[in-house]
Symmetry: D3
Subunit: 171 residues, 6 copies
Amino acid sequence: MKAKCPEDSKTIMTDLVLPSETNPLNNLFGGELLARMDRAASIAARRHSRRIVVTASVNHVAFNRSVPLGSVVTVEAKVSRAFRSSMEIYLDVWIDDRESGERSRANEAIYTFVAVDDSGRPVRIPELIPETEEEKIRFDGALRRKQLSLVLAGKMKPADATELKALFDEK
Amino acid sequence: MKAKCPEDSKTIMTDLVLPSETNPLNNLFGGELLARMDRAASIAARRHSRRIVVTASVNHVAFNRSVPLGSVVTVEAKVSRAFRSSMEIYLDVWIDDRESGERSRANEAIYTFVAVDDSGRPVRIPELIPETEEEKIRFDGALRRKQLSLVLAGKMKPADATELKALFDEK
Amino acid sequence: MKAKCPEDSKTIMTDLVLPSETNPLNNLFGGELLARMDRAASIAARRHSRRIVVTASVNHVAFNRSVPLGSVVTVEAKVSRAFRSSMEIYLDVWIDDRESGERSRANEAIYTFVAVDDSGRPVRIPELIPETEEEKIRFDGALRRKQLSLVLAGKMKPADATELKALFDEK
Amino acid sequence: MKAKCPEDSKTIMTDLVLPSETNPLNNLFGGELLARMDRAASIAARRHSRRIVVTASVNHVAFNRSVPLGSVVTVEAKVSRAFRSSMEIYLDVWIDDRESGERSRANEAIYTFVAVDDSGRPVRIPELIPETEEEKIRFDGALRRKQLSLVLAGKMKPADATELKALFDEK
Amino acid sequence: MKAKCPEDSKTIMTDLVLPSETNPLNNLFGGELLARMDRAASIAARRHSRRIVVTASVNHVAFNRSVPLGSVVTVEAKVSRAFRSSMEIYLDVWIDDRESGERSRANEAIYTFVAVDDSGRPVRIPELIPETEEEKIRFDGALRRKQLSLVLAGKMKPADATELKALFDEK
Amino acid sequence: MKAKCPEDSKTIMTDLVLPSETNPLNNLFGGELLARMDRAASIAARRHSRRIVVTASVNHVAFNRSVPLGSVVTVEAKVSRAFRSSMEIYLDVWIDDRESGERSRANEAIYTFVAVDDSGRPVRIPELIPETEEEKIRFDGALRRKQLSLVLAGKMKPADATELKALFDEK
């Protein structure tokens, strides 16, 4: 299997915020954005692996900015690191400003997908080779996030999470 | 404001998995479950605060079990800890077994909501007093999760996250 | 087949009223509430019978109170009587008051479901044994309602509907 | 206000049965058909009254035939009797046979709507004058159904439901 | 195969404009109307051919009038000409005026469908015999439109489009 | 108003084909694709004009390839020519091949949008300056298509459609 770069899986999903997706303050429901990001991330994971993919986990997601009804929202997804059969997908969410037309960042999120065969068993996927500076930073962070995920799920002892532990020892 | 207990905000959302919500393996999309949990959590947050509430963040969510088309899924949400204007909501997801009728746990998730007034400004909310053993464990864990969230968002130094740091020093 | 009690099939479906479900007065469409109640009733029927179930009929439903956009609506369904292969499901609909947080009754409805096998043929289902006072009253009323349903469908002569006839002779 | 005939409010809604509307047997959910009939009936009520209309009640509905995925379903709604501000709407549901192209009757249903002003208060509506034989039969039956509805809602004593009582005395 | 007339395929789809289908001016999205017309046209094509049908093309569609939220919209579809395995479907869209109750024309559109077998291969369909004056005019125009479609798709040389060419030579 | 180039309005909408959007052959409904293209085109039109935009017309659209359930579909929209207040939007539709991962062209379409103010009146929009070879070809074709649209709508005499007429005289 030939290695790929993040650009190969890049997925852009630009769409409107429709009335059926908004809360009483006329902003996009957090849950709707989570669902859109899941669809975009699943396409990126499929582009990297050319396999059926299923959501394995969602990393911590913070909703820093509200997204008003009628907004143009762009979700951009790229594979940030490939493990044996799982992939970390990094998502950036942008909103177009109505006046200036400038896009500003609304959110970031990280999803993990697993590539499976027709009966749902994990399969090997190609390696990922980061290219840009940002891709390299995200690639490096992915291992730390994987350990955090295993610790939180009770599948790894905090003491064994060397990458993560360093974070707290550092200062 | 009178303090409340988790039972006061308990929200049960039982529903079917419909064909429009499934992936190529005929299982519920992760993103759809995230959206349902967001709606259930928002109702629990509203029941605790009697205010407009908006999603602030989603904690790490792992999808351990696939949920097949036609399943009966129950999402149960309860406020697990109340801060000044934000609330942590703990969600348990159950599936009915078709044969035995037994419910088995499919997922857990933790969302944070903020109570706001009509113009979107945070408002004070009642205190939460945990009652059962499980509620107390979740209440205690909430502070550690809040620190983790602040650290991940770059709003708190790892060294100041005392509750969290202890986790790694322990062993 | 072991007899069951109404509590075994109890199904709670709490959800928001979304903008796509409202009429020009910004209230929930009657038809949307009918569809939600059908889903909740089908789950209760499945929990009692552990079979595929299909809607057989809907009893008279009155919409006494309008349900505004953004409301929290709770549909609660329980099997009220089991016949050979059909079940009567009793539904109670509640709305949370935004100020006081009190739930108040918005509607009642009665659906009938039939349990079927994979080819759609009716199958035997467990007996139902009512427990609470309310469950016993609903259990007793179910026979009268079944007769009314058969009379209205032209499948029973009014004179043979003994339970129903009594209603009019009584006073 | 000029009287109208049933033809003036006749509403035809032909549409496909889509995958998102079907149950595990691949047939249209009862609840979806109830929602479609509600929309068709509301249009017929609006055409008669030229007012905002809200669902007041749904009469007994029997689902005699299943409606498979991909079917062409026609819902036809006509006002069958107008009272002071409420209207009874009679609905006929037809399915196209795939082979012969013949339409066959799948269901009948009766809904009641109330015409209201902008603040939700009932308003006077035009009289209805039935024309065909079938329209006259439905017009006559509407009074009996209204009494049944009032009796079931506990708003009329069975003894006062003269039209209804006759049904049981007849034989 | 017996020839049919346009009336045999006539399909009427009356429905409301719901909040989830409207743009920031509170009017029906053009794209939603295109989707409704596609469904109505597919039913008309199926009624003519009694076969599975797929959209082949959409002729030029102009949106002359906006359709506000809450409107009653009627889409009427009839086969206007049948070729070997393709059919032209003519659609008329009407809106009910809220005050007068009069229906006024909002749009016209022309879709082409192809009848296929279970594996997607085109099959022969019955001939169409127009009856009314309008049906004859639409029948005659269909050939010209077919040529235009072939020319635009680069499958016919403008010089061979005799019917179409005449249009420009005429005056 | 500063002139813009097509790249400034470029909009990419990549998404999955979900079960609720497919016909009996398990392919995307033509009408659903028309609706997606309308949303993508409206965003491109908004990015060019920074105004509210409404669909004015859809040019001839041919559906040459079916798009199966589960496909990854990319709709790409760019303004191809700006007139006084209307814009032509050119859309390219691509599908990912499941095996090779190659994207292949599935469709092309052309929509026209008009920029309006809050009360729906047309407003001036910036000029468009094409840059690439393809953009120049599309820019040139836009005038011919506008004439065709006016002729078909009966708003221009064929004899006055000089650009269009040339097409038929050419050979």
